[in-house]
């Protein structure tokens, strides 16, 4: 992966830069010891690493503004960071940049059940947002698998999704407002506890902008009343394409499950070695969850079962208890970890029109043979967001490159059939240079013009999202 050449002048001025930042922040909030900055070298795309110049950990919006103002004046690039779980290298630093971590901004500022929102500082973890309102019967809907660790800041920057977004939408659909600091150190309030704030939808623009338009310090999030209950059904098929067709039929029938998750044989085999979820022997497995009262759940599951039966499933297993539900989900939740036990893997994230599922699955297995690399598919089938996991051996020279080439082919295929490069993980550094597959020069130019408005000098997370050659002139 190519990264821009670091600015030697900035690196040479490290002492002065660090001293100035120390002046602005309390003791311990600026880290420049190479041993301690090591943890900030990479995010969850750990094949790529680079130590930053220094790390700052501000604890208030005012401190964030002070840091940004200073960096702006000194022309030092800043890379915002939540919990560092990005799979796209979004939080990866360059040697001439400051990491601005929001981990200390972790407080709940306001909960309002009457108006159904919670206002939090952006470093708070996703799961602990739901945790803060759970005892009152509410939850925060977007639930990325990384929810124990990832921060709301990263969720907003990446517009993260989760297993239940088929019904509840992704981050942008559940975000009511943010407090954001621009690179120049100006504090901006976008949106709020009301639905329309007039003017352009800058909130919608900022969500998913991968930390390139401003540093988000606070967020107002929509919370929802918990459903009376939820229950999954597990359906096994002896053919991937048939499982795909079953998904289409369920959607068209007017049942709207909260989640439809898909796992293929390689994933099922890996999972079986890793946890005891008791999955049946099948080529493809669907986990479908519905919500409501006991009677509503039974009704919806009956409809789904009836549709599934038309597709000759090898097994249909409705959960009968909380323990059985947990077991059905256990395997799905362990899928990434299970693949990680076998080998290193690269997780793709392209989205395709659901109608193209059989074709794309077939092409992926052909590519797997061509490249000689194993692939497992585990993904959100209801919305076409694929997660092919390509296995490779990081210690084998050339294997990572081979894996990346194969990944690029799969993503190109996703675009070709009418889909996109990334459904929820973001572009970061990983898919930056594939952007030409989906966009032409004009499409990219206007997006970069948007960054020009918020950050004219391109100091905020500059080497991400756009192909390096496209953004070169702007990055200075």
């Amino acid at each position: 992966m190519q990264m821009p050449v670091a600015n030697a002048e900035i690196i040479a001025s490290k002492a002065g830069i660090v001293a100035r930042l120390r002046n602005l922040l309390p003791d311990g909030a600026v880290i420049d010891d190479p041993v301690e900055t090591k943890v900030y070298e990479c995010d969850a795309l750990s094949a790529y690493r680079c130590a930053p110049l220094a790390v700052v950990l501000p604890a208030s919006t005012a401190e964030v503004a002070a840091v940004l103002r200073a960096c702006h004046e000194m022309k030092v690039p800043v890379v915002p960071r939540g919990s560092g779980t990005s799979l796209a290298g979004g939080a990866m630093p360059t040697a001439d940049s400051i990491i601005l971590g929001v981990a200390r901004l972790d407080k709940v500022l306001e909960t309002d059940y009457e108006n159904r929102f919670i206002r939090v500082q952006s470093g708070r973890t996703n799961l602990s947002v739901s945790g803060a309102v759970e005892s009152n019967g509410f939850f925060y809907a977007p639930d990325p698998s990384s929810q124990l660790a990832c921060a709301i800041a990263g969720n907003i920057a990446m517009n993260s999704g989760g297993a239940h977004c088929l019904k509840y939408g992704v981050t942008t659909n559940n975000l009511l407002g943010v407090t954001m600091v621009t690179m120049a150190g100006e504090i901006v309030e976008l949106g709020g506890a009301y639905l329309d704030s007039g003017g352009y939808d800058l909130l919608g623009l900022v969500c998913g902008s991968e930390g390139q338009l401003g540093v988000v310090t606070e967020a107002t999030l929509r919370i929802l009343a918990k459903p009376e209950g939820a229950r999954p059904v597990l359906i096994g098929f002896d053919d991937n394409a048939v499982a795909g067709a079953c998904v289409s039929d369920i959607i068209q029938a007017g049942v709207l499950p909260v989640a439809i998750e898909f796992m293929d044989r390689p994933i099922l085999e890996a999972v079986a070695k890793f946890v005891d979820a008791g999955y049946p022997d099948a080529e493809a497995l669907l986990v479908i969850e519905v919500e409501g009262s006991e009677a509503e759940i039974n009704h919806q599951l009956a409809l789904i079962t009836k549709i599934a039966q038309r597709h000759n499933p090898v097994e249909i297993r409705e959960s009968r208890s909380a323990a059985e539900s947990a077991n059905i989900w256990k395997g799905r939740k362990a899928a990434f970890g299970a693949m990680g036990q076998i080998n290193d893997y690269m997780c793709l994230d392209g989205t395709i029109p659901v109608s193209q599922l059989p074709l794309v699955l077939r092409r992926i297995s052909e590519l797997s043979k061509e490249y000689g690399l194993d692939v497992g598919n585990v993904f959100h089938a209801g919305d076409g967001n694929m997660h092919p996991l390509i296995l490779y051996d990081a210690n084998k020279p050339g294997d990572l490159e081979k894996c990346e080439d194969m990944g690029a082919e799969i993503l190109k295929l996703c675009v070709e059939v009418g889909g996109c490069l990334t459904g929820e993980h973001g572009v970061g550094i990983e898919k930056r240079d594939l952007m030409y597959e989906q966009f032409n020069g004009d499409d990219l130019e206007i997006q970069m013009a948007v960054k020009d408005v918020f950050d004219p000098e391109w100091l905020l997370n500059p080497a991400k999202v756009f192909p390096l050659d496209a953004s070169e002139a702007r990055r200075g």
Binding site: Y194, L195, G208, G419, Q438, I446
Partner: protein, 352 residues
């Protein structure tokens, strides 16, 4: 001018040197005499995949045409777009591009989101004649910046939409309303209780002393939830015309200005009381109390009320349509507009 293809539209924009009013269905009438640019020539559904819940249509396609097509297949636009033609006193049918440009969203917004939440892709021609695409036709897409959101609700000031894509929902098999007779002072609290329940309420409004809550879905489930909700709120299952509220039909044909306030739901009744003191004649609530439709004497400035949120003058000529923005945001918006419309020709009246 009425370009009949995106290609012609590109030429029109590239050649244009003076201001243009972009006209879809003509629900929103411009106040100036700039040359109209009609989108009616860009019409037709380009892709409809019921099994994938996706629809792509050219921007000048009439909303009615789309709704008929979807209804035939038991599907709908999730956000229940409103048709304000009658309210505005014009005989026209909204276009899907106009719906997007104004982010027109009805009662279901409280659960299914606004137009911007269902919009998954756009093609548009910017003010210099460059065609731009963003988003696509899939439900989950975080590739690059989300200009789809930016275009929704930008009132044609950033570009002329040529094509829009949506994710759809299965149309509800059944629908029921629970009614609670009460003063508007307490309506937001009632609606908050309903939305705080697990019964999946997707409409919550108050009109003329009646608070109405709507549940939709599979028929057995609707009956169950409506009964449970009526019990919880001490109300009764009854009839309520959500379309009348959605389209603000009660104010159509009545003298006076029409305002639209968006505030925190619990602030709704408080604001209503103040608006009445200022001279407002009629007020209806949607979005659980967070949306107020206000009929007021012509020229009377309802923005004099104290509120945190947003007020728009929907019908009326004497006062600005749009609420002034805070300075930092106004500067960002102005700079964005200049990037998308460097010749400064798109819809000079709007978003100012």
């Amino acid at each position: 001018m009425t370009p009949s293809s995106e290609k012609e539209l590109i030429q029109v924009m590239a050649d244009a040197s003076g201001p243009l009013n972009i006209v879809g269905g003509g629900t929103w009438q411009a106040r100036n005499n700039a040359e109209p640019l009609y989108t009616s020539g860009l019409s037709g559904v380009t892709l409809y995949e019921p099994e994938a819940l996706t629809l792509v249509a050219k921007a000048g396609t009439s909303l009615a045409e789309i709704e008929i097509l979807l209804a035939k297949n038991g599907q709908c636009l999730p956000f229940e777009p409103n048709n304000l033609a009658a309210l505005q006193g014009v005989k026209s049918t909204p276009t899907i591009g106009g719906v997007v440009a104004t982010n027109a969203s009805g009662p279901r917004r409280i659960s299914a989101g606004a137009c911007r939440d269902s919009l998954i892709g756009v093609r548009f021609v910017d003010g210099s004649g460059t065609v731009i695409k963003n988003g696509g036709r899939v439900m989950k897409n975080v590739t690059g910046y989300d200009l789809v959101k930016l275009m929704s609700g930008s009132f044609g000031t950033l570009g002329v939409l040529s094509e829009v894509s949506f994710k759809l929902l299965p149309a509800a098999q059944a629908s029921a309303s629970v009614l609670v007779v009460e003063d508007e002072k307490t309506c937001a609290a009632t609606m908050a209780r309903a939305l705080g329940s697990p019964f999946d309420v997707n409409g919550a409004g108050h009109v003329d002393g009646v608070t109405a809550l709507r549940v939709e879905g599979l028929s057995g489930s609707v009956a169950y939830r409506a009964t449970a909700l009526a019990k919880l709120l001490g109300g009764e299952i009854g009839e309520f015309d959500w379309q009348v509220l959605r389209d603000v039909q009660a104010f159509a044909g009545q003298e006076g200005d029409v305002w639209r306030f968006s505030v925190k739901p619990s602030d709704g009744p408080v604001l209503a009381a103040e608006l009445r003191r200022l001279g407002a004649q009629q007020i209806m609530f949607d979005w659980a109390g967070g949306l107020l439709w206000v009929l007021a004497p012509s020229g009377m400035d309802m923005r004099k009320a104290k509120y945190k949120g947003h007020a728009m003058l929907l019908r009326g000529n004497a006062l600005p349509v749009f609420q002034p923005r805070p300075a930092v945001i106004a500067a960002l918006e102005k700079a964005l507009r200049a990037k998308f419309d460097p010749k400064n020709i798109l819809n000079p009246d709007w978003m100012t």
